[in-house]
């Protein structure tokens, strides 16, 4: 593919030399800037507390203490917090799929009366900066109107607001809009109900967009900090991020760092496995948002 630099310029001896130097420098800078901090953190977790307190710091641990990871698992009660985070993120993901997919399908293919008004009201919320609703949503969650429920300390306080996601509706509706109406008509003539049409016809051909929405939902829920900080005052219910921030001051540094490494692993592994889908979701998520 033709880019900024002419292919001819790269074939000369000078061009090859310059390219080699630039490539080498970029490799070095990227390794230093993005991988070295991770190396530092992982090895830092395995240094002894004395070595961690030493100035200047050591590049390679003098003694290796991999058992710190096991200690961190016990001392920070990581099993419980992993489970909490999993419940919060998994529930948020399921709620978004279960609520936003049928809604987008109805707006795209069934086109009910006032459907456009509903869509407009939903998309209008995209113009709000995410945190503008922080306080009123918190106040609402403490005493849900009509139901008079207090959702504080319940994972539902994360799941339900996560489902009120206009961006999901927008992405899904845009995908459903491209599915030909004839397909829906044919299903209707065969006597299929809308729910059956959605389940048997639309969902199987919508896997790419469902993958994008799923990845956006799970990554957002795993990374979220401020909202879980507000809705989980009960320390036993908190997510990994909120817990790590809370114990950061009291924990020995090696234990804390080991806990941070363990808490990051699931997302890094997920990225390793679903790299292509995540990067596709990223471009869908921000370019055309």
């Amino acid at each position: 593919m033709r880019t900024l630099i002419a292919p001819g310029a790269l074939r000369t001896r000078r061009g090859k030399l310059v390219y080699g130097v630039v490539l080498g420098c970029t490799l070095a800078v990227f390794t230093l800037a993005f991988l070295f901090p991770l190396y530092w953190t992982v090895t830092g977790a395995m240094k002894s507390p004395q070595e961690l307190a030493q100035t200047p710091a050591t590049l390679v641990p003098r003694e290796w203490h991999p058992e710190t990871f096991a200690e961190a698992w016990d001392q920070l009660d990581l099993g419980k917090y992993f489970l909490n985070t999993l419940v919060v993120a998994g529930g948020a993901w399921l709620a978004q799929l279960a609520i936003d997919v049928p809604a987008a399908f109805a707006l795209s293919k069934l086109r009910p009366k006032f459907g456009n008004v509903v869509l407009g009201l939903m998309l209008a919320t995209l113009m709000l900066p995410a945190t503008a609703l922080l306080v009123p949503t918190y106040v609402t969650v403490t005493d849900l109107p009509l139901f008079h429920l207090n959702l504080i300390n319940s994972p539902a306080a994360i799941w339900l607001p996560a489902a009120a996601n206009a961006f999901n509706i927008y992405l899904l509706k845009r995908f459903f809009d491209q599915i030909p109406d004839e397909l829906i008509e044919a299903a209707r003539i065969d006597g299929a109900s809308p729910v059956r049409t959605l389940w048997r016809i639309i969902l199987p051909i919508s896997r790419p967009i469902l993958a994008v929405v799923s990845i956006l939902a799970i990554v957002a829920a795993w990374k979220d900090f401020i909202w879980p900080l507000l809705v989980f005052p009960d320390t036993g219910k908190q997510t990994l991020s909120v817990m790590l921030q809370r114990v950061a001051i009291d924990m020995p540094l090696n234990v804390l760092v080991a806990g941070m490494v363990l808490a990051s692993l699931p997302m890094v592994l997920l990225f390793g496995v679903f790299q292509r889908q995540i990067l596709a979701g990223l471009t869908a998520g921000s370019l055309k948002g």
């Binding site: 990227f30 993005f34 609520i99 995209l126 106040v139 849900l144 009120a164 401020i226 941070m260």
Partner: protein, 309 residues
């Protein structure tokens, strides 16, 4: 033989019409059946809080006494608070610095990566890896790196014979230090978005510019830049809106210090609500933040919509 008898008063046309109406009603009912869960969550967690937020801004709310109307007292209290002006100044400073780094660095990184023919997968993975870390972990990690004693930065600077810095411990460098963290953590997604956009620029444009005698810099300026203008503008708006809401980095790394040099709008908003127990003033602050950012997010939504149609 079976005969079907039409009731005398119903002719075929009205019967058909009736079936059609019944169909329409059924369609609408099932559509709203599928929509109802979404309507409930949007009503409870988006639409109602919008209205509630405006109302709260003019009320005194502490969850101890019953809420009372106080007119514009909340706004008066905010403007009388010296921290309020400071928070806005700090936030605008953060956004400005974050744009200098977070806007220019990803763009030039993407242009550079687009020229490299080797190790492409490595570059993409490396730059995106920090995006996958939970922001709290990133913030705690960098807080430790910045430690003026045994931290990574001063150790590295010392190793090459340079004097260390005070980083987060000095009010002169604390905000800049937070900007580095946020740039490191977020530049992966911006870079990859630019990289994807660079891939769509037709090669003939560069060839034509070359035939006209344009050098590398002029090609960058007159081909690459105009071709990416839209993406750059969209990302600029997104970054302004996102960085004006910065919270996690100052909350976790500095708590607003030293000397209040990193108190941001959102950090102060958090304090008003959850430390001073003054939800009215906190709502008033959200309202002001919304007004300040509404222009940017509205432009963003309109721009991306126009491209759609």
């Amino acid at each position: 033989m079976l005969t079907v008898e039409w009731p005398a008063h119903v002719d075929i046309r009205t019967a058909r019409k009736r079936t059609r109406i019944r169909w329409k009603v059924r369609e609408n009912l099932s559509a709203y059946g599928l929509l109802c869960a979404a309507l409930v969550v949007f009503a409870l967690f988006s639409w109602y809080p919008i209205v509630r937020g405006v109302l709260l801004s003019f009320q005194q709310v502490d969850f101890v006494n019953p809420a009372a109307w106080v007119g514009i007292d909340n706004f008066k209290r905010l403007f009388a608070d010296p921290q309020f002006g400071l928070a806005w100044r700090n936030t605008v400073l953060f956004t400005g610095l974050a744009l200098i780094f977070g806007f220019a660095v990803p763009f030039f990184t993407a242009v550079l990566l687009n020229e490299l023919r080797h190790a492409r997968a490595f570059f993409r993975l490396a730059v995106y890896l920090p995006v996958m870390l939970p922001p709290v972990v990133t913030a705690l990690m960098w807080k430790w790196f910045y430690d003026p004693g045994p931290g990574l930065f001063n150790s590295a600077l010392g190793a090459v014979g340079l004097p260390g810095g005070q980083w987060l411990d000095s009010s002169d460098t604390a905000m800049l230090s937070l900007v580095f963290v946020s740039t490191w953590a977020n530049m992966g997604s911006t870079t990859l978005i630019y990289l994807a956009a660079l891939g769509t620029i037709p090669g003939e444009l560069y060839e034509a510019a070359e035939l006209d005698g344009a050098g590398v810099w002029r090609r960058l300026r007159h081909v690459t830049f105009p071709q990416l203008r839209f993406v750059l503008l969209v990302m600029l708006l997104l970054q302004i809106v996102a960085t004006m809401q910065v919270f996690t980095e100052p909350y976790v790394m500095t708590g607003g210090g030293p000397d209040d040099s990193t108190v941001t709008v959102l950090l102060l908003l958090y304090r008003y609500a959850f430390v001073y127990n003054d939800f009215g003033s906190a709502s008033a602050m959200s309202l002001l933040l919304f007004v300040a950012l509404g222009v940017f997010s509205a432009t963003y939504v309109r721009l991306t919509r126009r491209v759609e149609s």
